[in-house]
């Protein structure tokens, strides 16, 4: 409608419209707008009458959920460590301060019955200025059959308190997050790589890790393999003889083995 009115005066050569003509045009425009609105409503009604699978997909809405009883209860107990609460398509997602995550998880598990840790994973957002990573906790309450997500933002090089003491199943998940993203967990009983081999450099699921991989060189197990010859060169067996073995049988590894037996 406004487009029509703005375009009209630019039409050079046409005489200046009279007052009556103006009114007529406004009426016409109004009628047009009404018709368009009716058409839109009809289309919406048609769309709604269609079965769900013929409608255009609509992504789940993200709503504020700070008045959710669980979020309110946690805020009361932990104050500002609960940064914000949203509901994504009806599922509660809480953003928790990094330092307080263990306390929040503890009270979720003990006071609210979230006894099953479903998943724990990391996400890399390289575009974020200083809090590059996010650790996501997915917990489930079997009695209420309710599932919520917790998110913690982590800057590069910072540690997250481990939740192994709350759910023991977090052990391997946290090791995997460390392996894939390089996020360390404080007080974890065994903070080592889990899927990549020990001695591997880099964290593959970081966005800046190249998909074709990196040249890790021959020194995969520098304590075992010959640095220059790599895993299959050198000693023939692949294993670098230990110092004691080398002293015992300086000529070949085979006789070293026999000597041990």
């Amino acid at each position: 409608m406004s487009d029509d009115e703005q375009k009209r005066p630019t039409n050079a050569g046409e005489p200046e419209p009279s007052a009556e003509g103006d009114a007529a045009k406004v009426d016409a425009a109004k009628a047009k707008a009404e018709a368009a609105a009716a058409a839109r409503a009809k289309k919406a009604a048609e769309e709604a009458a269609k079965p769900a699978w013929e409608r255009d997909p609509v992504a789940p809405a993200i709503e504020d959920a700070s008045d959710d009883p669980l979020a309110a209860g946690l805020r009361e107990a932990h104050g500002a460590s609960l940064e914000h609460a949203v509901a994504v398509g009806g599922e509660l997602v809480l953003q928790v301060a990094r330092g307080e995550i263990r306390e929040v998880c503890q009270s979720l598990a003990e006071d609210y019955g979230y006894r099953l840790l479903v998943d724990l994973c990391g996400v890399d957002y390289p575009s974020r200025e200083n809090e590059r990573f996010e650790v996501v906790y997915l917990v489930h309450n079997l009695e209420e059959n309710r599932r919520i997500r917790l998110r913690v933002r982590v800057p590069e090089g910072e540690e997250v308190p481990s939740v192994c003491g709350v759910w023991r199943g977090a052990d391997w998940c946290e090791r995997e997050v460390f392996d894939m993203f390089g996020i360390r967990f404080a007080d974890h009983p065994d903070m080592t790589r889990i899927l990549m081999w020990e001695g591997f450099h880099g964290h593959p699921l970081r966005k800046d890790f190249p998909i074709e991989g990196i040249d890790t060189g021959a020194a995969i197990y520098p304590e075992y393999y010959d640095d220059a010859a790599g895993p299959i060169g050198g000693t023939g067996t692949g294993w670098k003889p230990s110092k004691a073995e080398a002293d015992q049988a300086p000529e070949t590894t085979d006789s070293g083995k026999a000597g041990k037996e």
Partner: protein, 377 residues
């Protein structure tokens, strides 16, 4: 070896604990699982699983391909149960984008997922029994598994890496005569399960090798995030098909078997009953199979909104298999995390084998029903 022949001065006797390497290439480890065992004679003092030998970076690969092209990657994770991995992935994408699947596709998906559950449980039974020393069930179960694989082959052309679902619906309708052939198989299947049970359930050796072996108390199972038949074998009645029904599971009647002795034998009973219940589900789905379209209205290129995220999971044969997807407005997922059931279930293994014999370890690995392709991804 007599003491005077020993060149080293290390004592041969009086040795109490030793470390033993088990795997990664051992027929009883169901793939490339490696365990470091601390043993006292034949008894296991502690176990430390070492995984990652089959790591292929699937989660990294997901980030490089559009949503539609990622379905085949999910086949290669749990390679004996590709259909349920497909189902979890396409369900997650549908939830992220907000698509609704037409009813006929939902029923077909339910049938495929349950056939897959049966075939996965058949593999479990065959390998579990052969590990313990019962050779015969292997041939019986592979006979039925062959029929299921033939049904899959007829439907989508593949037997193992199925790629049989798409975000938004099903790619193909059921071929002519498929329903009848499937019905025929399901009609005979309970008698086949009776055959397997006749070989094992009251077999004295089977009972001696499984009763009281690998006990997993319910509170330990929960604490470690164990799901699926492992959790139900420990007395916790939790099944995603009942708790959060998806596809056509709210339209069919079935029971969730639960056992309370928490040992290997009870988990065996749970899985056997699950196979019968899967047969019931398939039968009802075949009876009620609705007509109609197979594919929802969907854009040619799927794009998830910026900063959208979702988690969706289904009850796979091994437990809860889920996908956590983060969208960033491009046709590729920003992050696609797999929640692998075997990964969580394997983690509890040391708890189950402490104090047991090494030969029981083999039974416990069998009863956890792990697939290393999914653990290592």
């Amino acid at each position: 070896m007599s003491p005077e022949k020993t060149p080293s001065s290390e004592p041969l006797f009086g040795l109490e604990e030793m470390e033993l390497n088990f795997g990664p290439q051992h027929p009883a480890t169901h793939g490339v699982l490696r365990l470091r065992l601390k043993v006292d004679g034949e008894r296991i003092v502690d176990a430390y699983p070492i995984i990652g030998y089959l790591h292929r970076g699937t989660e990294k690969l997901f980030e490089l391909h559009p949503y539609f092209q990622n379905v085949p990657h999910t086949d290669r994770m749990d390679y004996v149960a590709a259909a349920t991995s497909n189902l979890a992935y396409v369900g997650a994408v549908e939830k992220l984008i907000g698509m609704t699947v037409p009813p006929r596709a939902r029923y077909i998906r339910t049938i495929l997922a349950e056939l897959q559950r049966i075939s996965s449980h058949l593999i479990w039974l065959a390998t579990h029994a052969i590990d313990i020393g019962a050779m015969t069930p292997f041939f019986y179960t592979f006979r039925e598994r062959e029929v299921i694989l033939d049904l899959f082959e007829e439907y989508c052309g593949a037997r193992l890496t199925l790629n049989c679902m798409r975000p938004g619906g099903q790619p193909y309708d059921l071929p002519i005569g498929w329903v009848e052939r499937c019905r025929e198989f399901i009609r005979d299947f309970p008698s086949k399960v009776d055959e397997y049970e006749g070989l094992l359930t009251n077999n004295r050796i089977w009972k001696q090798r499984t009763i009281g072996v690998g006990v997993l108390p319910p509170e330990v199972a929960l604490e470690y995030g164990v799901t699926g038949p492992m959790l139900r074998g420990s007395g916790i009645d939790w099944d995603l098909r009942k708790a959060m029904p998806y596809e056509a599971y709210d339209q069919v009647e079935f029971d969730v078997p639960v056992a309370h002795n928490c040992d290997t034998y009870d988990r065996y009973l749970v899985r056997m009953e699950e196979m019968r219940q899967s047969g019931r589900i398939i039968e009802q789905c075949l009876d009620d199979l609705p007509d109609g379209p197979l594919m929802a209205k969907r854009p040619r290129v799927l794009k998830a909104p910026k900063d959208s995220e979702t988690y969706y999971s289904v009850e796979g044969p091994k437990g809860e298999i889920g996908f956590y997807i983060v969208g960033d407005g491009t046709p590729n997922p920003h992050r696609c995390r797999v929640r692998p059931p075997s990964f969580m279930n394997l983690q509890v293994l040391p708890e189950m084998v402490r104090g047991q014999l090494i030969s029981d370890l083999v039974a416990v690995i069998g009863t956890t029903d792990i697939v290393l392709g999914e653990i290592d991804r």
